[in-house]
Amino acid sequence: MQEEKNIRVLTGNEACAEGALAAGMRFYAGYPITPSSEVAEVLAVELPKIGGVFIQMEDEIASIGAIIGGSLAGVKSMTATSGPGFSLMQENIGFAAMAEVPCVIVNVMRGGPSTGLPTLPAQGDVMQARWGTHGDHPIIALAPFSVAETFALTVRAFNLSEKYRTPVILLLDEIIGHVNEKVNMPDTTALEIIDRIPPAVAPDKYLPYEHTECGVPPMASFGQGYRFHVTGLAHDETGFPTNSGREIGRLIERLHRKIEQNRDDIVEVDAFMMDDAETALVSFGSTARSARHAVRLAREAGKKVGLLRLKTLWPFADKEIRAYAGQIKNWVVAEMNLGQMAHEVEWALAGAAPVKRLNKVDGDPISPAEILQALPE
């Protein structure tokens, strides 16, 4: 019997909102900004219908503060913004990383710096997603390249944030956020949904920042009788501030260990026509669509070109790229910024083969023809 299909035409922003609802997100706090506003628009309508809460805050600093609170109360929480708002959120992203509060921050990238290009695409926030907030902190960032994948990666963003008690950044770009595209909607009852692990001990035995083997401490929700202290200061296993060098070191190292030792679970790369490729493109988000088209055109012309598309931007897919180091003679990194990811690719390859940069920052997407032209003869 043929399965009942549910085909819709949605934008990436709409699919992001739908994916968040499917993942169990029930608290959204945000401040509207182009090109992300449709995420809020959909959730303002849909959340109240299912017992969720939508709140428009006074700015982006308050927005991320609110979702950190929502998550501590046990509700999956999210905010969405674009460059200028993402800049304002940085301090509290660090707080969420330090206090290990799961939450999802959607950044629909537009041209920058500053207010930049509100309605035009860019991919200039790759490094800001990694290092926008200060101090040594781990982060997870995902970047979908289609509307259907935006739905899937939004669900995944929540799953990873719950599993590893960490903020997760979902980087869309204006094209993916605004393009209307055909989506065969997944059966939401069949999705894998991961929830944070609750404490297995009585409240008086609970250590909210326990140095567990997997690196992730169980998480109690406020209001359940587990009283604990949450702070951005370096803290010990009880959550209270400490000046003990041993405790501080253990904390910061564990924050990294919980992501690093699970990087194979987190990092996803899509290899397209890479098996016999001699030239490899590396790209992500909407630029990866142009790259995929360029690969098809190059193949028609008999050139052995493939595409490594990064679905996870952070942690970086260094191992996955290095795996092709002996095979690929030339690398081309295409991105709508001035080389933020290319630098990581060069570092991963450590000089194994030349890396050419294809960059564009004029508000116009990189076209398949431009990528084709950038390929070595």
Binding site: I7, R8, T119, L120, I175, N180, S286, R289, S290, P368
Partner: protein, 182 residues
Amino acid sequence: MSFRYEIRLSGEGGQGLVLAGKILAEAAAVYDELNATQSQSYGPEARGGASRSEVIISDEDIDYPKAVNIDLLLALTQESCDRYHSDLKKDGIILVDSEAVTRVPEGSFRVIKVPIIQLAREKAGRALVANIVALGLIAGISRIVSEKSLLTAIEARVPKGTEELNLKAFAVGLREAQAIMK
């Protein structure tokens, strides 16, 4: 044989070209079981300013969602016609509002002039539905999306209470196209 058909709807902000593009994409993707994307490009202004909405329809995966080799260009204003005709195919079609666009670019493409806004005002009842009159014209000229699918998509997408007006506007455009293509 696979195909990729590119349509660019251009005019000024507020003329409903994004909605028209979304209806076209939905008709093709949901009801005609093809692949379709609709994307847009606009400035920071909410109304006015040159605006464009692009629809790609294909029987294959659509990698690049922007128009680069246009089969059909709709221009409802002179400014949009001047700015957005450059990617038209040699044998493409340019459909212009004959009152708003007086200078039509020269080239080997086919030019079709129709008083779209006037038809919307006088035959359909309101100038506001010029976008749907244009959809009727595009349906009749391109034959890329079925009439039935477009009617279903229009009914599903236009604001509640305006279905009749919009369906009428579509019929006006379609009839005009049939007269032209005879």
